[in-house]
Symmetry: C2
Subunit: 379 residues, 2 copies
Amino acid sequence: MAKPRDSSKPGSSKPASSKPAGSKPESVTLTEVAGHAGVSRSTVSLVLRGSPLVAAETRERVQAAMVALGYIYNRGAANLRAARTHTVGLLVCELNNPFYAELTAGVDDVLDTEGFVAFIANTAEQPERQDRFLQRMREHNVDGVILCPAAGTQPELLDRLDRWRLPCVQALRFVSDQERDYAGVDYQAGMETVTEHLISLGHRRIAFVGGTLDHSAYAARHAGFTAAMRRHGLADDLVLRCPLTRRSGAEMADHLLNRPQAQTAAPTAALCYNDVVALGLMLGLEARGLRAGRDLAVTGFDDVPEAALSRPALTTVATSARQIGQEAARLLLRRIADPQGPPERIILPSRLVVRQSCGAPSDSLGGAPSPSLHHRDLS
Amino acid sequence: MAKPRDSSKPGSSKPASSKPAGSKPESVTLTEVAGHAGVSRSTVSLVLRGSPLVAAETRERVQAAMVALGYIYNRGAANLRAARTHTVGLLVCELNNPFYAELTAGVDDVLDTEGFVAFIANTAEQPERQDRFLQRMREHNVDGVILCPAAGTQPELLDRLDRWRLPCVQALRFVSDQERDYAGVDYQAGMETVTEHLISLGHRRIAFVGGTLDHSAYAARHAGFTAAMRRHGLADDLVLRCPLTRRSGAEMADHLLNRPQAQTAAPTAALCYNDVVALGLMLGLEARGLRAGRDLAVTGFDDVPEAALSRPALTTVATSARQIGQEAARLLLRRIADPQGPPERIILPSRLVVRQSCGAPSDSLGGAPSPSLHHRDLS
DNA sequence: CACGGTAATTGGATCGATCCAAAAGCGCAA
DNA sequence: TTGCGCTTTTGGATCGATCCAATTACCGTG
């Protein structure tokens, strides 16, 4: 058989262009680029991946051909052969919470600069939905996942991910404290700090308010409360669990103040699980003619934008969601690059933000020209 | 040639299991499932896609084999041959805004039930970033995109998407009012309604506050203001543009009230572009010892959670972000199924939410037991 | 001029599914 | 027995890239 090599005459006898009746103008392939540049497929592939093996002159010719033909890289095809897909899965438990949205933005920041893209899923705290999505992620061959585990997630899930060889970084919460990759906030220290703050203001009877789902984040926050109280020899028995909604927070006002048959004294301060509950509680107080900071000290956790905006402004603990997202993404990329490396736990510090809701240090509560128009309070 | 069919003896002479030294236990392929079930690849493929061609008995056998081997579908491989990838791209312009987060959740809802997944990207209002991401979406062969165009997006972009044969649904904003798929809110009607509300309360001099970026959403809101004012023979010249941040909103307080050299009268009401600006403005008023609803009527737009929470609570226009996301996703799926169909524009209504920030109808402003603890104000 | 060594390029096999035309199995009538 | 139609199954060929072993080009040396 004769071998018709036509590398010198580009665009002449290529079988690819034998059907000029333009029904499918789509998908310029690497082979066509090769023909146009007068090189082989393999060489184009090397150029594509930035290999140092190709000569500079050749590289330029190939790149010119790619531009001329409007070539677009077909990652799907590449993924089939190569190991990597340059995609990851991101599972958050409640996207509608601004906190998680911010985290997502942080993840996106890092992935974007590294040429990765993320599949997103809102598990809405439903383990079934989480399972379904993880399954889908496997089918799409993602290189790894960032997981904010839904409440009720079984630790066994992580073992399954291991078996699947699917790198996973837990964020904000974790379902098992084994040595596993994790990025989050030091909730316990944050809670200790704000509890100490209340104690330093003279409060002795403090209630811990909010939280029903059992996960690591709840445990850590509660532990912070307990640790600080015990350190000062104070009772940590006043714990009121409730859903993490404004409505529930508002309803807790009664439980806190009207305690007819209570053997113990009423609390003078409410340490809320997060800002949402705290803001709700303040609304509840107001509806009863009471005021946070005067009649009851109230603190939150998270420092959501509303916290600076409420009257009185909410004393809370700031946790930078975006930064956690960035750290989680960076950690996942490291893990993908080196699946065998030792696990890392990245714990970011939190920061106490003192406002007026627990009796301001300078005690000009509420009133006229608000002294609280700090820079960081305005987005 | 003899034909050694070994359908009865599974797992005996298959070349797949010829290398038992378990270095790569991963990736059970369709071929292996076929071997285990004693059928051909093609048949397994048909089962996978739920074809009615295969006999019921065969289907069961194949499914049993898939379970037994722990088979997982490799969509990447399938995508290479088939047209569909069952993925879409979702580009939002500011994820950190809770409004877009909610929209994202809505998109996720619908895609999840249809077996699709979304790549997410936060364009942060940067057209370059938007371009880069769209490029990446093409490389990943997404079936379509949902686009909240970044401010400054050129209409030409949509033509490019057409040329690429990439179905696209615009959401919330659009860069060209040609007949194209779109899902959004009737901003103009919403603004008209709230303007009418102010007028009905007796306001004659009303300022339109906020917005710097030029896009359809700005145009529509402004048009609503103008239309309502003109209908009542009122001047619509008082327009104060500013960035969409709380800080800028706060700073607008001065511009609104201290107008030394102004030829025209000071406004009695401020119609804000959105809630963020309105909330900022209210803070600015408060810092000057003034109060929204008493000294200046203030309205917002979007009905973000904070709106119900501020003192006084903000009168605003509710737009259900989640629903828009759902509609956009449904529309995109229709378009993917039928690329040639006629374009659709889905415009959802908005709803006026009257609270206290522009002088409550029952004029018990601010004061004691708040009457506004409605159900919907509590998340 | 043959030779070794490096740099650059290449063709065939391959990843794991789908597509499609062809074939096998089967019941039934001529 | 043969032929026909129907259902069910099947084996290449294929999608568009990567991997790898092999080849070619080129240059300085002995």
